[in-house]
Each structure stands twice: as C-alpha cells, then as structure tokens.
C-alpha cells in the first residue's frame, strides 16, 4: 500500500516509516502541514497517517480541507492528547480512526490494515460466515457446524466484530473501542476474559480453532491456513 505520513517529529516519522516499509508498504513522509495537504490532494495514496500538531497547518485542518476537496482516502489521526472531546473532534473532521501517542507499532499497523480493508460502502449483510461458523445478524443466532451456540449479548458483539474483520488482527484497544465503547485502558483483563469465554464456546468443543491470539498484538478470527 502507498501510505502518506504527515508528521513533524523526525524520530516518530522515521519509526513509522521504517516499520511500514518492513511490513511491505511504500511510505512517504512529509513534515509540514501545508506540504502534507498538497501531497494528500495531489498524490494517490491508500492511507493517510496525519499528526494533529503540525507546523503551518494542523492535522484537523488538513483532514477537513482534504475531505472538502473530495479526497476519500482513509485517514488515521495521531495525537498526543487523549481526551474524548479531541477524539470526537477528529472523527467529526472526517478522520476514520484515531490513535493516541505513544502507541505500539503493532497497534498502528493493525489499524492501518483495518482502514485499508474497510469496505467502501456498508454492505447489508445479514449472515456472516467464517469457515463453518455462521452468524445470523437478524435472528441473532450463532451456529458452528450446524450446532447452536448460546452467546451472551456482549460475546455476540465481540464475535461479530471479529467475524467482520475476518483474517485481520484486532488489537485489545480496537476491541475495547468497538465492542465496549471504552476509550480508556482498563486495569483488569476485560478483553482477555471475554475472549476466553468466547473461545470456550466457539472453539473448544470443535477440532479446529478459529479464534487466534496474535502475540503482543491482539486477536484474529480465521479459518486454518
């Protein structure tokens, strides 16, 4: 993927660029807000990674201006300020996701992957399917190999998120945000607890595991490769 990184801190941008290149992406770095907006509107990129605080033009203004110029490229905003208000402002300006500094590179990569594969239009699917696991969104039923699986409401939402992201890694933070709507870091192992309960229901009674733990990153649901 071609990724444009607009970030004025050299160390951070080097760190991001190096990591993205190693993950097989092409990465361009711009350190100035105005140049960044120019690049974002002129070049063709798959993802824009934009820092909020930039010289000459701040990240929010870049996103607003790019959206006004009908640039539909997914945007991931980076920020050192982690307030909820700021997050809402970022999303309202037209950003697709929001990541608070400091972050682990695996978190950034997972979010970039999630953005890149976000379907362009919200498709109206009523049944999700991963291998022999099926989820009926209308009747709220889950079956695996034809067997009914009884899930708690929260487990259902968690499984739905994982099934929609089939094959991609969802980090703990991404799950906390999308499944629980928690925008902070809980002290206890909320995600782990629910993942293990879900696993006990959808994987343990069957031969082939579908729910995989990706070490020090997150979780991924997919058929055996």
């Amino acid at each position: 993927m071609r990724i444009l990184v607009i970030e004025d801190d050299r160390k951070t941008s080097d760190y991001i660029a190096k990591g993205l290149n190693e993950a097989g992406h092409q990465c361009e770095v711009v350190a100035d807000g105005r140049d960044g907006l120019f690049q974002a509107t002129q070049g063709s990129y798959d993802i824009l990674v934009v820092d909020r605080m930039l010289p000459h033009l701040d990240g929010l203004s870049i996103v607003k201006a790019a959206r006004a110029a009908r640039v539909r490229t997914p945007v991931l905003l980076l920020t050192a300020i982690g307030g909820v208000g700021d997050r809402v402002e970022g999303l309202e300006a037209g950003a697709d996701d929001y990541l608070i500094k400091p972050f682990a590179f695996s978190e950034l990569l997972a979010r970039i992957n999630a953005l890149a594969r976000r379907p362009p239009v919200q498709e109206q699917r009523t049944v999700l399917r991963v291998a022999d696991l099926e989820m009926d969104l209308v009747r709220r039923l889950v079956t695996r190999a034809g067997q009914n699986i009884d899930l708690q409401p929260r487990e259902f939402t968690l499984l739905e998120a994982l099934m929609r992201a089939e094959g991609r890694v969802l980090t703990r933070t991404m799950l906390l945000e999308s499944v629980w709507d928690y925008h902070f870091d809980p002290k206890t192992s909320v995600v782990e607890t629910h993942i293990s309960r879900l696993r006990a229901k959808i994987d343990r009674p069957f031969d082939v595991p579908l729910l995989h733990t990706v070490r020090s990153t997150g979780y991924s649901l997919h058929a055996p490769r």
Binding site: I81, G82, G83, V84, G85, V88, I100, P102, Q152, P153, R154, W180, D181, Y182, H183, F184, D185, P186, K187, T188, S189, V190, T193, H194, S196, R197
Partner: protein, 449 residues
C-alpha cells in the same frame, strides 16, 4: 490620604456628588419659594393700599371734603414711621392735605421712588391714586416692611440651608471615610495575597452588609485558592516522587542492557521489561492529564443525555465475568431508571474504575454489588464489597492523586483511579462518599440538584 487619591475614592466621590446635589436642590427650592413669597407679599401690599384708599374715600360726602381731609390728617398722624403716604390734591394739582410733596401724575396702581414723591430716602412705594369728587386721592405704602420680611426669610433660609449642607457634607464624609477605610483593608489584604501570602483573610465587621458579603466571598475564594495551591504543591511532589521510581528502574534496565554482554533472549526480556516501565509511566501521565482536563471542566460542552441505568447494566454485565474469573461475584441490586446530562465516556470510566478497584483490592470470594437508586431529582449510585475495607482515617486520602494504601502497593495501579472518579463526579455535580459496608467498603456517588 493624599488629595488625588481622596478624589478617586468611590465613597468620597459619592458623598461629594450627593452633597452638591443636595445644595443645588435646596438652592432651587429656596429660589422658587422666595419668589412665590415676594409675589404673595406684593399682592397683600396692593390689597392693604386699596383697603386704606377705600376707607378714606368712604368718608367723602358729595362736595364736602372736610371729612376727607380730617380722616387723612388722622391717618397721617397715626403714621409715625412714615411707611404710608397720603395726599389729596385739588383740581389744579395743589396739595390740600397729606404727607407728600409731589403726587404721581397717573391714576391707578404704580410703583414709585421716594424721590418722585418729594420724600427723603431711597425707599420704594406702592401707591394708588384715583378721582374722588374731582379731587385726586393718593394712598401709598412703602415696600420696606415687605422687604424686611423677605430679608428675614432670606437670612433664616440661608442659614438653615448652610447648616443642612454642612451636616450633609460632614455625614457624607464620615460615611465615605468609614467605607473607604474598609475598602482600604480589602485592598491591603489583596495586595498581601498578590505578594504570595495566601493565608491572609479580610476581617469581617459581622454586620452582614454588602462590604462584609463581598469580603466573605473573597475569603472563600482565597480559601479555595490556598487549598488548590497546597494540593498542587502536594501533587507535584507526589508526581516527582512517583515517577522517579519507575524512571530509576528504567535507567537500571537500560544500563544493564547497554553495559552487559547479553544473548538475544536475555536482551529481549530486558527490553520488554523496559517497555513495560515506559508504558507504566505513560499511563500515569495520561491519567494525570485526563484528571487535569476533567477538572478544567472543558468537557461539559460534550454533555448529552445518558441513561445511567443502561450504563450500569452494561458495565455490570461485562465485569460479572471478570469478577467470576477472579473467584469473586458481581451482581446488580436495585437499579432505577435514571437519565442525566453527562459525558458517557467519562461516566463509563468512572464506574469501571470503581468496580475494578473492588475487584483488584479484594480477595477471591468477595461479593461485589452495584446499585442505582432514584428519588425525585436525586439519585445515588453505589459500588459495595464485603472485602477487607478501608480504615476510617484513610477514607479521605484514597481520593488524593497518586495516593496508595500500604497494602495496595503490590497490586497493579497508579493511585489515580479514585482521583479520576472524584474529578468525574465533580464534573457532573455529584459527591463521592466512602462508608463502611460492615464488612467491606461502600463507595456512594450521590447527586442532588
């Protein structure tokens, strides 16, 4: 007080303004009443002159002026002070009787000077002359008496006005002075505060007047300010202390990694440890910033209606499993429907912090309960456990930033969870209380409008 400062003083300016206003008003009142009085007196003079004229005229019988002359003579005799003038002239203008030397030429009422009547002095006379059987009768009276009366009125009024004005100025100056003195005390106190003496308080008079009220408010603000400054001082010390420990550990880890020759595996484990320390420091900073941001109150603009009961149900459902995995139980008690204006994310974090506190600080086997009760506009939310409890003398401390009970030093956490809870509760106008749950701890958030 120097004169320039005296004139800038608000109470003294008030006193001066009102004093002058008083003087001008009484001057105007006095002028108007004096003029009215003069007019009245003049009319009375005319009436008196006409009456005298009529009396003398009545003594005239047809073609007989003897009685007339006689009457006039007796009038002249009775008029020792010369304030009245009389004359009777025949057709040729010769004076037959009276005390005048000249007679005015015209008939009717007229004001003439003593000179015109051939008299000494500079008095003015009001005279009436008319025809009586072909002769001319002139009757007049001096203005002197009237002027004397007016003079008396003028002087007495002037004195009383001057006295009243003096009294007004003196009272004004006294009141202004005492008000100014009290303002000076306030100013001196504030000057001391600006020099950094935060313990200065403005003395109150105890009369409950407006200056006392303002001074009371200022004292309250000073009280809050000094508490804030003190807690800030405390917090910065705590932060410095609290961050020094992980920074030291980090330094040791990095030092070890840099100086010792290690194999990859050992190196990786050292770096992972260092990373964990960094994360811990970051988390602490984030939490501190968050608390500061919440305390600044800027987030109120994101307030929306939040169904508190739904929030409690959702979180309790999630954490029932977490507690279960920990060998504890979490159940909901009475949950009333409550909708408030608030920040949903913060309220979520607040409740999660309270529940996680109970989970992390209580041993397995503990029963945790959550409840939400409403009566009218008031509601209260509680998280209770039957765990080891918090000693009574520590119950207020647990809300202090970075404060940790000795026995909690080993459990994960940064001592900011409850500070955050209190900050969020404050933002929503709720108060937080810690009570004994007999046994255990019960933390209650109550809101009353």
């Amino acid at each position: 007080m120097p004169r320039a400062k005296l004139l800038r003083s608000t109470p003294i300016r008030f006193a001066l303004t009102y004093g002058l206003l008083f003087v001008f008003t009484s001057l105007a009142v006095w002028l108007v009443s004096f003029e009215l009085l003069r007019r009245e007196l003049r009319e009375e003079l005319d009436v008196a002159v006409r009456e005298t004229y009529s009396v003398i005229e009545a003594t005239y019988a047809s073609d007989d002026i003897e009685d007339l002359v006689g009457t006039m003579d007796s009038f002249v005799r009775l008029n020792a002070d010369g304030s009245r003038v009389f004359a009777l002239l025949d057709r040729s203008g010769k004076i037959l009787s009276g005390n005048l030397k000249h007679a005015p030429p015209r008939e009717g009422f007229e004001t003439v000077s003593a000179l015109q009547l051939g008299l000494a002095g500079d008095e003015q006379f009001r005279i009436l002359s008319g025809d009586v059987g072909g002769n001319r009768l002139v009757v007049g009276e001096s203005f002197k008496e009237m002027e004397d009366l007016a003079q008396i009125v003028l002087v007495s009024f002037g004195w009383s006005s001057a006295l009243a004005a003096l009294l007004a100025f003196a009272t004004g100056a006294y009141l202004a002075r005492s008000a100014q003195d009290r303002l000076d005390v306030v100013a001196a106190s504030m000057a001391a505060v600006s020099r950094g003496q935060l313990d200065v308080r403005i003395p109150l008079k105890g009369s409950g007047d407006d200056v006392d009220e303002i001074a009371g408010h200022i004292n309250q603000a000073l009280e809050r300010l000094s508490t804030l400054v003190e807690s800030m001082r405390q917090v910065s010390t705590d932060i410095a202390h609290d961050l020094k420990t992980p920074l030291n550990r980090l330094k040791l880890l990095v030092d070890e990694a840099a100086t010792r020759s290690l194999n990859d595996e050992a190196m990786r484990s050292l770096l992972e440890e260092a990373l964990a320390e960094c994360d811990q420091i970051n988390t602490t900073f984030d939490a501190l910033l968050r608390i500061a941001q919440i305390e600044a109150g800027a987030r109120k603009r994101h307030f929306l209606p939040v169904a508190l009961d739904q929030l409690v149900y959702g979180i309790a459902e999630t954490y029932a499993d977490v507690a279960d995995d920990n060998g504890q139980s979490l159940r909901t008690e009475r949950i009333d429907a409550v909708e408030i204006q608030g920040d949903k994310d913060l309220l979520t974090q607040m409740l999660v912090n309270l529940i996680e506190n109970a989970i992390t600080h209580c041993p397995p086997g503990t029963a945790i309960s959550v409840g939400l009760e409403r009566s009218g506009e008031c509601w209260s939310l509680f998280v209770a456990d039957d765990g080891p409890g918090i000693p009574e003398n520590e119950r207020e401390n647990i809300f202090r930033r970075l404060y940790r009970l000795d026995k909690s030093r080993t459990t994960p956490g940064n001592g900011l969870g409850l500070s955050l809870v209190r900050a969020i509760a404050d933002l929503h106008g709720a108060t937080v209380n810690v009570n004994d749950n007999l046994p255990g701890t019960r933390i209650t958030l109550s809101f009353a409008p």
